[in-house]
Symmetry: C2
DNA sequence: GTGAAAGCGCTAACAG
DNA sequence: CTGTTAGCGCTTTCAC
């Protein structure tokens, strides 16, 4: 692989000059020399060594992304947004899965640090119960690694998110307005703030409507299809069935619907089902899923922009809130026998 | 950030010794010195600069992954497999989306080259009509960048795949066995070999069964939900409707089913629908989707292993074929009025 | 306008 | 067992 030295020799100039030409430096270079260098670069198929450059400039043009599971539609859509924006600015993105394991997360963070990434985006999956994480974060901050958190405000960093509390409240209000009074909430992983937020919104709406909160109606979930399956089984085994199921994410809702249908339960006649996130599939399941539309792709794009701004020395807002939108589709309707 | 020099000073040894201790070099180091170095490393929160190391060792421990769209469940599952295996071996993965644009692909390849990645995995989305691509590939090979292609044999490189022809044939046979004679094939992007393979398998099965091939029954698709929607509209507008729809991937099948259902078409009574890939949703749609189970996660894992083997100087097989599996679910059944 | 020299942080000969 | 020297490929003072 040709180095800058090879180029210099061939163009009969110093490596310094080559560097100036190749980087469009503001330092003046005569047109004749510039052409000679460019010519040599073409002839030798010259490609700059990004590592060597990074060592000097102290900028790698690489960002790391921490996700719970990159094969989850929620995360993969966010990552796509990040990657698109990153590429547009000449950045590369390294992807790291944690499966929500704080230890794995730390290991990844350290590794990204070793590779001198310019910034790190936390796309979720962080937990709030891990204090050794803050040590790593401090090390990162000390070395001016830009940090951005998406949606979960677990990591103390600049944040881009939607108002999960308000969104969950709005969905619950929609259900209440239809006449539902017994609404089960299928939650997400307990340690996530997202889960807590959505539960809070649910409770707020109930309180505002004067419907007593029943802890028996808060069912566990894990943001997976399988956890929706579990929840549906629980529903089927319940004597005093709720008339609506509000799942804290779409996969859970879709998994639940699959089981309910097989059991002969009609949606929304027998039970309404609502989700959260609005993953692409939500429009293609049967019945189409009522859900909260979270701008996942944009979350990624804005997160990356925010990162870029930090790197450029700007002082962007610490918290950027993106709009969500209640999507009413076919999976919710009035209860057959309003209570 | 503490450098190896800082460590050397604090531990009262040479940088060389520090390096030897930290890398568990085979070169002997006295226990006393080793402890001193380790102690100093702990005190200074020392982290090695991976870039500097990479410059010397000529190994970055980074692999690049080229995908059409990382938010597509097919690709995202493969990527997950790659990442899992990569992490287990201390590798980082950079993800690059091409949207199947050969120019974007080339740009990415060059950039990955600049960053001295140890290897590149082509997870799909390559086209066979781009010869300037081969120039880049040659450059890569020249610099000993390990190359692995997944599923599409577009890129000339070591390959891990499933037998798409046989799988499509098997699915078509399943449909024929049910009594279908008019089976429409909804294809994928034309330039993909995967698309061509699946069409070929379809034709082979028809020929073997003595059913004449009707070009009118090969409909365009794009591996997206939306293209399934289009195909379903075409079905609805067709006078002499086929009794079965074989979509070249699951998203297409699911998109089609959504429209058909809304139009009051019963599946599989009025029309059977089959997919390809077996993405997670296939089990949760209604009716559950008959499809070809492609081991996407394993494709990623094996692809990464193959890459690692190449890097280790082993000579792994040029072509590794992974098993697929016909998954018969509820979306296919005998035609109401067998022709 | 151009170039020489220094050095980013690390590892790999080669000595001792 | 330990250290000295050199250098990966590049950018950046600083001098001319």
């Amino acid at each position: 692989m040709a180095s800058i030295m090879d180029l210099a020799r061939r163009a009969q100039v110093s490596p310094t000059t080559v560097s100036r030409v190749l980087n469009n430096s503001s330092h003046p270079v005569s047109e004749a020399v510039r052409q000679r260098v460019l010519q040599a670069a073409r002839e030798l198929d010259y490609r700059p060594n990004a590592l060597a450059r990074a060592m000097i400039t102290r900028r790698t043009q690489i960002v790391g992304v921490i996700v719970g599971d990159s094969s989850d539609p929620y995360f993969s859509t966010i990552v796509r947004g990040i990657e698109t924006e990153a590429r547009a600015h000449g950045y590369l993105v390294i992807i790291c899965n944690t499966d929500r394991d704080p230890l794995v997360e730390q290991t990844h963070l350290r590794l990204l640090h070793d590779y001198q990434v310019d910034g790190i985006i936390f796309a979720g999956g962080s937990r709030h119960d891990c204090n050794s994480l803050s040590t790593v974060l401090d090390e990162l901050r000390q070395d001016d690694v830009a940090l951005v958190a998406l949606n979960p405000h677990t990591v103390v960093a600049a944040e881009v998110r939607v108002d999960n509390v308000a969104a969950a409240r709005e969905m619950t209000e929609h259900l209440l307005a239809l006449g539902h009074r017994r609404i089960a909430l299928i939650g997400g992983p307990e340690e996530l703030t997202t889960t807590a937020d959505r539960l809070q919104g649910y409770r707020q709406a109930l309180a505002a409507a004067g419907v007593p909160f029943d802890p028996e109606l808060v069912w566990p979930g894990a943001f997976t299809f399988e956890s929706g399956v579990q929840a549906a089984r629980r529903y089927l085994a319940t004597a005093d069935r709720p008339t609506a199921l509000f799942a804290a994410n779409d996969q859970t809702a879709i998994g639940a619907m699959a089981v309910l249908r097989q059991a002969g339960i009609r949606i929304p006649e027998d039970v309404s089902v609502a989700g959260f996130d609005d993953i692409e599939q939500a429009r293609y399941v049967f019945p189409t899923l009522t859900t909260i539309s979270v701008p996942m792709h944009r979350l990624g794009v804005e997160g990356m922009r925010h990162l870029l701004d930090q790197l450029a020395g700007k002082e962007p807002p610490e918290l950027l809130c993106l709009p969500y939108c209640l999507q009413i589709r076919d999976s919710t309707g009035p209860p057959l026998a309003p209570s």
